[in-house]
């Protein structure tokens, strides 16, 4: 199997469409025959990252590369950036506004969930310029 690449544009502040990219990746991975556990890890991490683009960054882009060995995801946005990545990684810490919390988001579990379900996670963020997140899940 040669590597498969997928690209998604995620619109900002549109909660009715949030999760579409993750749903598409889930169907693709299932169709390719990845194990349910592998699919679950990728999809939970990607959904959280996708929601972050919607809530915090005014949208962004997602690139996914699928190989037999791993799934690599790169999420880029031109949002406000993350001033304190270490703080943002703590369970329960959230800067989500009240209107977003009323939808059930803002538990402060987004980045911790991504960390938990990926094998590699790297965040490059510059305040005022944007954030790029690199994620990798190995197919064990």
């Amino acid at each position: 199997m040669s590597n498969l690449t997928l690209h998604y544009n995620v619109p900002g502040d549109d909660f009715t469409r949030a999760g579409e990219a993750s749903g598409s990746v889930k169907r693709t991975l299932k169709d390719l025959g990845f194990s349910p556990e592998m699919v679950r890890k990728v999809v939970i991490a990607l959904y959280e990252a996708e929601i972050n683009l919607v809530i915090h960054a005014g949208g962004g882009e997602i690139d996914v590369e699928i190989s037999p060995e791993s799934v690599d995801m790169v999420l880029t946005d031109k949002g406000p950036g993350i001033p304190d990545v270490e703080m943002a990684m703590k369970e329960g810490y959230s800067t989500a506004p009240d209107n977003v919390r009323s939808l059930g988001f803002g538990a402060g579990m987004g980045l911790p969930n991504i960390k938990k379900y990926t094998d590699e996670m790297k965040i490059d963020s510059v305040v005022g310029e944007g954030t790029t997140m690199y994620l990798k899940v190995y197919n064990n």
């Binding site: 909660f15 009715t16 949030a18 999760g19 993750s22 749903g23 889930k26 349910p36 679950r40 999809v43 939970i44 959904y47 959280e48 929601i51 939808l103 059930g104 988001f105 803002g106 538990a107 402060g108 579990m109 987004g110 911790p112 969930n113 938990k116 379900y117």
Partner: protein, 108 residues
């Protein structure tokens, strides 16, 4: 036990039938979507009051067997449409999550 049997045993209303014979292997209670997303297991019956479109997405991605809206919580129109489109089973009860979950625990 499958979702059809769950409806009978817990006296639930069916809001969206979806995949009605999906096997239920456990249960999870929660309303914070990321919390549920990261911890609910595949095959869980998810008890919540969150009836919006994003809850449908979480149910699909976390691979829960069904959603039970507790205490007659509202299912949004666009959430109903999405659930029908994606085959998600949405059930409803006037009882709270604790009561429903304890009943599920007895019959699983």
């Amino acid at each position: 036990m499958n979702t059809k049997q769950l409806v009978e045993k817990l006296n639930l209303k069916v809001l969206v039938s979806g995949e009605m014979e999906r096997e239920i292997t456990g249960g999870y209670c929660g309303d914070l979507l990321s919390w549920v997303m990261g911890r609910a297991q595949s095959g869980d019956c998810w008890f919540t009051v969150m009836g919006n479109i994003n809850a449908i997405g979480v149910c699909v991605l976390a691979d829960c067997a069904c959603i039970v809206l507790c205490e007659n919580a509202t299912l949004d129109d666009n959430a109903k449409d999405r659930a029908e489109m994606q085959g998600v089973c949405i059930l409803s009860s006037e009882e709270n999550a604790y009561t429903l979950a304890t009943k599920l625990g007895e019959i699983l």
